[in-house]
Amino acid sequence: MNKKGLLFKVIFAVSFFLLLANCTTAKGQYKGVDEKLTRRDYHAVIAQIEAAKGKDYGEKNRVWYYLDLGMLYHYAGDYAKSNEYLTEAENAIEELYTESISRAAASFVLNDNTKEYAGEDYEDIYTNVFKALNYLALGNNEAAGVEVRKVHVKLNKLETKYPIEEENVRKAAPPLFRSSALAHYLSMQIYRMEKEWDEAEIDRKKIAAAMRGQRDLYIRLADPEQAIEIDEGALPTEIPPDRAIVSVVAFNGLGPEKVARQINVNTIAGFLSISSRVDDKKSGAAAEIRGLFHYPDILIPIPMMPPGYNFTVELPEMRAKCPAADRIRVVVDGREEIELFPIENITRVAEATFARKVASAYAKTLLRAGAKFAAAIAASEAANRAGGGLVGALTRFGTSTLASATEKADLRLSYFFPGEAYAGELTVDPGEHTVTITYYRGFSEIFRETKRITISANSLALVEAFYPGVQR
């Protein structure tokens, strides 16, 4: 084969595969969304997401699309529509347990973005929490109870989903999410509405047990050293016959996002150098994290290692978005007030469940990347011998670029789950009431929401609030 022919084939092959390398996670659908959320212009965000259906989502990301819309319709108060989308997401997640062999094969060659997005475990679980809230808002307590029971079934399944055989590894592994205090709180409210006091008492005890038995998950986002605990006395089981209870669930901030950790591999004569950084586009430049975290620079002596090769592998990581508010107070009729207690750290649950899953995904990524890089080095060395310096250099550049371009992290994750949940309640007289929920950062008020409710004797009204603001 002559040099010109070989050069042409190399350029053609690299161009062809670079087209395929457009298997990355696009997140253009979220541009400008935070500002609209803070303004509570949910319908504008819904329109933006719907417009991105074909472009940024596509059929293989329908779970992602349904989750985003389901949550937005929930915040917009269209509970029936929210349930439609969240149910579509839930059903699709269940179907996608069965993986397509062809897509799985493609992910071994390219990256995980070729696979259909089947949702993260925490998305699957909290879909049912929000469906329960939707049904409660629609006055269907029985259906809400079904959704809460589904949460418990999914948590039981999660216990055996990522088995760890080695005891030492198990001890060092991220905490396992077994029981949701928020789900038990909703269940408790449902039983109280149905006057089933014994069942409500069981759920009340399970709220406290969830927090005490999973301390690593029940920490405050604002202060990870502080464990979340419940004052059980603040949650009486029975509703007094001549009074009523206003129960408030307030969601704070937004859930985590996935970011790409870049592992850079460079070859120097006789050595392999590995360093890592998190690709933080928001900071305007990649943030160098040399030696600060658990990915220090590594220099490995490898005899005969040819110099001049540069490869990049991306691994996905969860990153928390710290909520703007750290306190939430509720005032009823301008007189009676309480401070809500944090009941669930949804971000921490997302991080822990993702960390349990990700070990095998990392191993697959590194294996695949290693195979590509070895093939790239072999191809370049062969081209160098066959075609000389220019062909060899072009091949080295092309195959390195190709291998790196196809190693993109799967950053798909729904945007609109909240970061934290707070709860609390007051006992009031039956009748009409004004409930004001105020979010604070320290002593500064940052957001206030007022709702009007009518409540009869010996009954319970569940009021929900949400402030999506996060610290920048």
């Binding site: 069965t98 062809s102 079904v146 399944k157 989903k161």
Partner: protein, 202 residues
């Protein structure tokens, strides 16, 4: 040339297969045929439970006891609330309809309209007092009161691992004397399903 023709033939074959393959097919089937698709509670479960429960309730001594104490008249039954305490959304109204049908067809009890139906009937009767002729207007306060109410609960226990789950349903029904609150019959029916889902497909 041969290679080129081969490629063209393969492309044409793929197109032909794609066109020939229908994405949706409809087949009519008997209404009582047992078909399980998703593993969830379905019309077969509802029908089988209703048939068995009603067969049980209408063969127990409470009917004879009632007739002996009431000059041979048939007991009047109404279906009350069937609560769903399972981890699936179950159309309990479909189940209630199945129960009502089986009770009527059993011929040993009389059956009256449910609470929602009574509300509509009463509204119609009220309307007739003002708008229908005296001969045809139906009289108020002439309803047949139910003697017994059938109430129940559907619950489930699910044991699941990746790709496989076992769902155990239990349907518990009680027949209660409306006047004395006495429970004259308790029935229970259990269903267990194993659902398996393949990890891979082509």
């Amino acid at each position: 040339m041969r290679r080129f023709l081969c490629v063209v033939f393969c492309i044409l074959a793929v197109i032909a297969v794609s066109c020939a393959t229908q994405s949706r097919k409809v087949t009519r089937t008997a209404a009582d045929e047992q078909i399980d698709l998703s593993g969830r509670w379905n019309d077969t479960d509802s029908r089988l439970v209703a048939e068995e429960m009603v067969r049980d309730v209408t063969t127990r001594p409470w009917i004879d006891d009632f007739q002996n104490a009431n000059e041979g008249r048939k007991p009047v039954v109404i279906v009350g609330r069937i609560r769903n305490k399972s981890s699936e959304h179950i159309a309990t109204d479909v189940f209630i309809k199945d129960l009502e049908r089986e009770l009527i067809n059993a011929g040993r009890v009389k059956f009256v309209a449910s609470k929602e139906q009574r509300a509509e009937l009463r509204a119609e009767k009220e309307d007739q007092q003002s708008n229908a002729s005296e001969e045809t207007a139906k009289r108020l306060a002439q309803e047949t009161g139910a003697d017994f109410m059938l109430q129940g609960v559907i619950s489930s226990v699910t044991d699941a691992v990746e790709g496989q789950k076992v769902v155990f349903y239990q349907v518990d029904l009680e027949l209660i004397n409306i006047e004395s609150n006495e429970k004259v019959w308790i029935g229970s029916k259990k269903i267990k399903k194993v659902v398996e889902q393949a990890k891979h497909k082509w």
